[in-house]
């Protein structure tokens, strides 16, 4: 029907085995994984159950985000950032908004910062819920995953109250949020803070001291900090090796410096460390959300955006009644806002690590070049090298503990 089917073959493994008497055998792992991890492929050379070498092929969901971003005005790129790390879309959205705000040089009122922190920490919790739940499923323990997915539904309900969408949220605008969090959103967040800790505790009771789980995960995939830094790792897998690098603490954005929280750091860098670390990060995120709710109480009510009419759409009543508001609205939507020429790099702590946005602007309505520094992509390149010598089942658990999200891998 269409002529786009070509005989594309994946990059050939660079370990050629021409000896017909050899015992090595080639196993193709992917790209159709059991629906959890995403579409990426590993062609492994195996000696029985042990991996001798491997080649990773990605790009099976390459959607050309960076090329699209050169053709879209700044407020439309938020929908693209949603779909990168789709398990924690609000973090991507906020990161993008902060990048544009950094470029334009506008600062947010504190209340907006605290609202952003709540949204980002909720999405960090939902990202870690999926990762740890799926890690449990990969070791064979399905029930933990079901309990955690129910909690994700509660987080989805909070997002729905705030922005209307569950998963690809497109929350907020450059300059704040589109509407204030209503009373129901706050009530649901407080409800979540009460109802979630016992469930997380139950999940930890099921897994943390579970003999089988510890046997499966302890010592698997241990990585030293030097190797991890050499591969430019970031996020939970780097912190599990012992390096306490967290963008929220190193370069605080969105008023994270006002919050009192700890960064869990591991020792051995193996799968068990990463699992415990993500659980601990969820506890810390709950702490941050609690503090944010208290801080919002102290701020003047009703502020949910910054007062920069050149960038933030004026309310509709003003657009229909006042001339300046109408002109601002027209200019913003048509993309006639003057933006400074320059380049900016802004990083946020995503669910998987340092999510960076490198924006080069030439003053047009669309960016000249936008590059996403995607943690899953950069973390995953070590996989083929670090899997050498592992058993296949250990390699699978290792991969799922890295939390590689296919959307972020390929962009």
């Amino acid at each position: 029907m269409s002529n786009i089917i070509t005989n594309t073959t994946p990059n050939a493994p660079n370990f050629y085995d021409n000896d017909p008497q050899s015992e090595l055998f080639t196993l193709n792992l992917g790209p159709t994984h059991p629906a959890t991890h995403g579409v990426f492929q590993n062609v492994l050379q195996m000696d029985g159950e042990r991996i001798v070498s491997g080649v990773s092929t990605i790009g099976y969901i390459h959607r050309a985000f960076e090329k699209i971003a050169e053709h879209r005005p700044f407020y439309q790129i938020t929908t693209l950032t949603d779909r990168m790390n789709y398990c924690s879309s609000p973090i991507n959205n906020m990161g993008w908004h902060m990048t544009v705000e950094k470029m334009l040089g506008i600062t947010m009122p504190k209340r907006v910062d605290y609202m952003r922190v709540i949204v980002m920490e909720l999405s960090r919790i939902s990202d870690h819920l999926i990762c740890n739940g799926i890690l449990g499923v990969d070791t064979g323990a399905f029930s933990g995953f079901l309990y955690l997915m129910e909690e994700r539904e509660h987080i989805y309900e909070i997002f729905e109250e705030i922005c209307g969408a569950r998963l690809t949220t497109n929350i907020g605008r450059v300059g704040g949020f589109e509407r204030d969090f209503n009373a129901i959103a706050f009530a649901k967040t407080r409800q979540f803070l009460k109802k979630f800790p016992p469930i997380l505790k139950e999940f930890e009771t099921l897994f943390n001291r579970n003999r089988i789980f510890i046997d499966r995960t302890s010592g698997v995939g241990a990585v030293t900090p030097e190797v991890a830094l050499g591969y430019s790792w970031s996020g939970p897998i780097l912190r599990a090796t012992g390096v306490d690098y967290d963008v929220r603490v190193n370069e605080p954005y969105s008023s994270y410096q006002d919050f009192d929280f700890e960064i869990p750091v591991g020792t051995k860098g193996d799968v068990y460390d990463r699992f415990i670390l993500r659980n601990e990060e969820m506890w810390q995120s709950l702490r941050i959300i609690e503090q944010a709710l208290e801080k919002i109480e102290k701020e003047p009510k009703g502020i949910f955006h910054t007062e920069v009419p050149e960038v933030y759409l004026p309310p509709k009543e003003d657009v229909y009644n006042k001339m300046e508001a109408l002109i601002y609205h027209f200019k913003i939507v048509m993309g006639e806002v003057e933006t400074p020429v320059g380049e900016v790099y802004h990083a946020v702590e995503g669910g998987n690590g340092e999510l960076g946005f490198y924006l080069v602007n030439e003053g047009g309505r669309t960016p000249y070049r936008l590059h996403f520094r995607r943690p899953s992509f950069i973390n995953y390149q070590a996989y083929a090298d670090l899997s050498k010598g592992m058993l296949l089942s250990d390699a699978i658990i290792n991969m799922s503990s890295w939390n590689v999200i296919a959307g972020e891998l390929d962009a």
Binding site: G230, S232, V344, H371, Q381
Partner: protein, 167 residues
Amino acid sequence: MGKITNQQVLAQLTSNFEGNFSNVSEPYGLLTFETSREDIMQILSYLKNDKNLSFGYLTDITGIHYPEQENALGVIYHLHSLVNNVRVRVKVFIPVANPTIPTATTLWNGANWMERETFDFFGILFEGHPNLVRILNVDDMEAFPMRKEFPLEDPNRVDKEDRFFGR
């Protein structure tokens, strides 16, 4: 924020590489400078290995294309010193006719896929890279999609009606 300032980084660079880099600026607080492909490896390994600077973390390598410039293709390195909490950006511009540049995989393992992605999108050849093949696009693609002349949409689509798109 950082334990050493941009001025100190600049001073150390100037004392060691006087004349080998140019175009120093600090957009939004991030020290940026440009250098040439002959000097890039020296500068990168100096930045990484010097005890005071210790820019040991390679944040990102990416490319850019300015068609009107003489050296149209650019490779942009972002480095981060975790000890000192300072970032730096290094740019190298190379001509389209001969887009080669030495690879940074000798210094950082993490440069491997970053350079493959830059090759895939811009066609920049990294000399010495262990496996410089396409990574995100289909293997038999010939053009380099992020260059400015490549169109965004697939030109072979037959089912898009022009009247819906204002053409």
